[in-house]
């Protein structure tokens, strides 16, 4: 059974077919790329998978169960987490709190014990802080834990978004242009980190990216979208030499 499978997935926005007939299949611990020209519908796929939009047709099955109609927070809790193309951190909160707020949703201690500082609160709170700090270590960000998220440089904000998504312990991580705005060195580092995250967390990763060096370097399979439909899928080598893909990217 695939971790995630979509069949005939489509959505119409006021008469415009934004996506049509999208078939995706992601196995556990795979790293998959989703590419295509601007406006091809890549982020729309993410929005469908995370419940932001409800598809007008087709099926999405995650771990064998349909997730259509589930709310975004429910989908996050069953194991699909994401980052955003334009960074959407909780900027007024600290780096540590950004991570903790995303992990605490499956924690159980009640308001009363929190207000009166009862032992269960302390225990849970300490455990969460430790875990959050562990997560920050992945990107060497322990020393900025207490800083306000908005004070981080751009590259670290992107990294923090990935950590915040990982805090929910997802089985599938969706990365929306993780390398946007990064220089070649940073992009190369990111490639290593993506592999490391897969090993550490046993998570499958679906990533949208325009940086072909990253996509070709890290992805095991790639899906190509153009005008809302899939025009190709295969290994990086296959995609590189695919006529339709070359045409879609170069025009003509």
């Amino acid at each position: 059974m695939a971790l995630l499978e979509t069949k005939d997935l489509g959505i119409v926005f006021g008469g415009l077919k934004a996506l049509d007939d999208v078939y995706l299949k992601i196995e556990e611990k795979e790293i998959i790329g989703l590419i295509g020209p601007n406006g091809a519908g890549k982020t729309t796929v993410f929005n469908l998978l995370t419940g932001v939009y409800t598809p007008t047709k087709g099926a999405i099955r995650f771990m064998g169960k349909s997730i259509i109609g589930k709310k975004p927070y429910q989908i996050n809790r069953i194991g699909i987490a994401r980052t955003f193309q334009n960074i959407r951190l909780f900027k007024a909160m600290t780096v540590l709190d950004n991570v903790k707020v995303a992990m605490q949703q499956h924690r159980r201690y009640n308001v009363v014990s929190a207000m009166f500082r009862l032992p269960p609160y302390w225990k849970e709170e300490r455990k969460m802080t430790e875990e959050a700090r562990e997560l920050l270590k992945i990107f060497d960000m322990e020393d900025v834990a207490e800083q306000q998220a908005s004070n981080l440089p751009y590259g670290q904000q992107r990294k923090l978004e990935i950590l915040r998504a990982l805090a929910a312990r997802p089985k599938l991580l969706l990365l929306d242009e993780p390398a946007a705005g990064m220089n070649p060195t940073e992009t190369h580092e990111l490639m290593e980190t993506i592999r490391r995250i897969r090993e550490m967390f046993g998570v499958a990763i679906l990533l949208i990216e325009h940086d072909m060096s990253l996509v070709m370097g890290v992805c095991e399979r790639i899906y190509v979208l153009d005008y809302g439909t899939l025009i190709a899928d295969g290994t990086p080598e296959e995609i590189r030499s695919n006529e339709k893909v070359i045409k879609a990217y170069l025009g003509g």
Binding site: T50, V52, K71, P72, Y73, N76, R77, A81, R82, F84, R88, L89, F90, K91, A92, M93, D97, K100, V101, A102, Q104, Q105, H106, R107, Y109, V111, A114, M115, R164, A165, A167, A168
Partner: protein
């Protein structure tokens, strides 16, 4: 000494404004809605207290719990019935505002129907004695107002900054869309915010009825408006701002009454509001939101 007495009286009055202002500010912070029905929650609390204390003849300690429960429920009910659908469908803010006004008018008329429109007198409740020290003389109820409001504020700060619900509130207020995708049930957080805001207003209602022992169905209008002014003065969306705005408004009002004239109190108070907002458009503790162009 007289000045300090007036200052304390102002803080006592301001404590009530502050407690109500917190509800405006919290709700605004989380759903960008000016909940004009919030003032009427005080009125609902006042009548809940009246029914328990005067009509049912319950003991005071039991009666003061009634507004807490009734207002909390009323806040949740109003959110569910009147606002939730609009919020989940991303309705225009103006529709929400009009709905809020509608809820306010509905509540006032409902209570006129139930209790007639004339004012009811509350029996004396607590702290009617006078505290004297040197030249200082204030009623105990004034001191109780101040202490209770400070305690509530500390509790609220702890809730917002130290608990997971509070963190989720902050996240929802900053970016509800992202919060949902991080596993936060924003609907639940919004309901909790309304409940907490209304419970604070209920405490305000008890203190108000004790200090100014008269209730009527339209009492929420001016009281709500002033608390709203306090919230804006402090910087709407900011919790410490709402408290500061409340105290400041109370003190200004009291000092104007004591040293200038009683007749133009509201004119002076609102003039100060206009001046403050001209100088600091985001309020005293509000943050200027920078818009990216």
């Amino acid at each position: 000494m007289d000045f300090i007495t007036q200052l304390l009286n102002g803080l006592g009055l301001g404590s009530i404004y502050a407690l109500i202002a917190l509800g405006y500010s919290m709700v605004y912070g989380i759903v960008q809605l000016i909940n004009f029905a919030h003032g009427d929650i005080i009125m609902v609390g006042g009548y809940a207290l009246y029914v328990m204390l005067v009509i049912a003849g319950m003991p005071l300690w039991l009666a003061v719990l009634a507004p807490i429960v009734v207002c909390g429920l009323a806040g949740v009910l109003i959110e569910r019935l009147a606002y939730q659908r609009l919020l989940t469908h991303n309705a225009e803010r103006i529709s929400l505002l009009i709905t809020a006004l509608g809820v306010s008018i509905f509540l006032q008329n409902l209570f006129m129907l139930l209790f007639k429109s004339d004012a009811k007198t509350m029996p004396p409740m607590f702290g009617s004695g006078v505290f004297e020290l040197g030249g200082l003389s204030v009623t105990y109820s004034t001191l109780i107002n101040i202490v209770v409001s400070v305690v509530m504020m500390i509790g609220l700060q702890m809730l917002v900054n130290r608990t997971k619900i509070g963190k989720a509130m902050q996240a929802t207020s900053e970016d509800a869309g992202a919060a949902k995708l991080m596993g936060i049930n924003t609907n639940k957080i919004i309901i909790i915010t309304f409940a907490v805001g209304s419970i604070l207003a209920a405490v305000g209602a008890v203190l108000y009825c004790n200090t100014y022992p008269q209730i009527k169905p339209t009492m929420g209008n001016l009281l709500g408006l002033k608390a709203f002014v306090a919230a804006v003065l402090g910087g709407i969306g900011s919790i410490p701002g709402a408290m500061l705005g409340g105290y400041l408004l109370g003190v200004l009002e009291q000092l104007t009454k004591a040293y200038i004239t009683t007749e133009v109190t509201d004119a002076v108070v609102f003039a100060i509001l206009i001046v403050v907002l001209l100088v600091r458009p985001a309020g005293l503790m509000g943050k200027n939101r920078k818009e990216k162009v």
